[in-house]
């Protein structure tokens, strides 16, 4: 064996040992993993006010994070011991690999439930309902999907809006950004003519902008975006835990309280809960 050959063989052996060592750890459920490590890791957004964002005091939180904290309470109850609650940044482009690699246990961000995603992930019940619109500078000729032909429209990579735009509205020139702050900077600088995302997120961006009056959220919803928390597939126990907690929260009014904290008149992003959405959420609560 040559020196190089020996080295390759040694590296291969090391890799084999590593994989063999890692294998048993992989063959456990999410709840078992949380119990073993004592940590519940949640993938959250950092730039999507008010679902997940870092505020001016450098605190990381938001509406989705609050819901995840409620789930955390029930995990502790179920496992009968204190569990550490940990946040990890997740973006539309990274959230699926973070989840499938086991780096996070739950995605609590702004993820739309779709049939394609349900092929490889499981989702909680719907915790928020919105639809795609456009954020433009005040006075922009763009008023909705009918007026985007030939315009440069920014979207977030991996988002459902990006997909809808690419497939249904090829007349627009799509510019895809890995995260929301980059897209918003590009919009501020006129590098793109409009930025598309779910209406509530655009309302959040507008509210957080240095000069909110400069911006308009325009157009009818051109997509339906029901948000859910995502988890690894085929784990009924864990999914039930998440779902039941969400139902409890809607029943007990905790959901409404969290909603008012973030979306109420005094909240980060004033966005009243529509009557339709309220009824829809309540209908999801199945009997005990």
């Amino acid at each position: 064996m040559t020196a190089v050959g020996r080295r390759i063989a040694a590296a291969g052996l090391a890799l084999g040992v590593l994989l063999a060592g890692a294998a048993p750890a992989l063959a456990e459920t999410t709840l078992e993993k949380i119990g073993r490590t004592g940590v519940f890791v949640v993938g959250a957004r950092t730039g999507s006010p008010p679902f997940g964002f870092i505020d001016k005091q450098n605190n990381w939180g938001g509406f989705s994070v609050d819901l995840a904290k409620m789930v955390h309470q029930n995990i502790e109850k179920k496992l009968g011991k204190p569990i550490k609650f940990e946040l990890k940044e997740s973006t539309p482009a990274t959230r699926i690999p973070l989840l499938s690699s086991g780096a996070v246990d739950l995605i609590a961000g702004t993820m739309t439930i779709t049939r394609a995603r349900r092929e490889s992930l499981d989702f909680s019940a719907v915790f928020f309902v919105t639809g795609a619109q456009f954020l433009v500078k005040k006075g922009s000729p763009i008023r909705g999907v009918q007026t985007i032909a030939g315009k440069r429209i920014g979207a977030q990579q991996g988002s459902t809006n990006e997909k809808v735009l690419r497939e249904k509205y090829p007349q627009a020139q799509l510019v895809v950004f890995p995260d929301q702050p980059a897209a918003f900077t590009a919009l501020t600088q006129g590098k793109i003519d409009a930025y598309t995302n779910d209406g509530v997120q655009l309302a959040g961006l507008k509210a957080k902008a240095p000069n909110p009056a400069e911006w308009d959220v325009v157009g009818e919803f051109f997509s339906y975006e029901p948000y859910g928390m995502a988890m690894r597939k085929n784990e009924t126990d864990f999914r039930n835990l998440v779902d039941f907690r969400l139902m409890e929260a809607i029943e007990s009014g905790e959901y409404q309280k969290a909603y008012d904290k973030w979306f109420g008149a005094q909240g980060e992003v004033p966005y009243p809960l529509s009557e339709t959405a309220r009824i829809f959420l309540q209908m999801q609560v199945i009997p005990r």
């Binding site: 482009a93 895809v176 980059a182």
Partner: protein, 248 residues
């Protein structure tokens, strides 16, 4: 019975990689990566040759200019340069130029500038090392034939140095190719961008990333092979111990 969450739950579906539109996206990604690499490399090579040479000239002022260029551009992370070239630099241009950039793929232009200028600074050091490895008698001989200093650099020193530095140049070229993936942060749809796109559409991350890995490996091996041929062809007899001789 606990259900394994990763080992068995994941079903591989390699056919994703060649089904429409995903296969086409990968090809587009490869083309964009090549475009970034070639344009970035040309810019980097030009800047590297000029500033590398400038850093060895007798003039203190010029050496200083070369030094400032190298230290500023190689000591800031490339990712930061990507953002600066895309978001920062256009801000100081006139409105008409900004408008032009926005309509003419300013993302790609910014990425090429970031790659070229950053790697140019690194290449300058390689070129400087090459020039400094040439015995000073070469310069003296060139000057004594009546060449001006500029001519001596252009016709003698730089060409010799470029022939000497092919191995580290290969290294830098491979780095440039791989670093082109950072362009995804400013919305350039290169290979890594496309693998992420496929992943977010299909949730088939392992397949997409494997494809990306193999694409970069293949491209880099291709560059290595080309550079090895160049190295073989341009080696200066007597100045470099050639590949086959290294094991003696």
């Amino acid at each position: 019975m606990p259900r394994p969450f990763l080992a068995l739950a994941y079903q591989f579906q390699w056919s994703i990689l060649w089904t429409s539109p995903y296969g086409g996206w990968l090809l587009q990604g490869i083309l964009t990566t090549l475009k970034l690499t070639v344009l970035g490399w040309v810019l980097a090579a030009a800047l590297g040759a000029v500033f590398g040479a400038v850093r060895t000239v007798p003039s203190r002022f010029l050496r200083g200019v070369g030094g400032v260029y190298v230290e500023i551009f190689r000591n800031v992370p490339l990712l930061v340069w990507m953002f600066l070239w895309y978001f920062g630099v256009p801000q100081i241009l006139p409105a008409a130029a900004q408008e032009w950039l926005n309509r003419h793929n300013g993302e790609l232009i910014a990425a090429v500038a970031a790659l070229g200028v950053y790697h140019g600074a690194r290449l300058a050091e390689v070129v400087r090392a090459g020039i400094q490895s040439i015995p000073s008698t070469q310069l003296e001989a060139a000057l004594s034939t009546g060449l001006t200093l500029t001519q001596a650099y252009r016709l003698v020193l730089v060409p010799i140095a470029l022939r000497l530095i092919v191995p580290p140049l290969t290294n830098e070229s491979l780095n440039l190719l791989k670093n082109s993936s950072l362009a995804l942060t400013i919305s350039v749809a290169e290979t890594t961008f496309m693998t992420r796109q496929i992943e977010s559409y299909t949730a088939k991350g392992f397949e997409a990333l494997t494809a990306g890995t193999l694409i970069y490996l293949g491209l880099c091996l291709g560059v290595s092979a080309v550079m090895a041929r160049i190295e073989h062809r341009v080696a200066i007899p007597g100045l470099i111990v050639r590949g086959g001789g290294a094991e003696h």
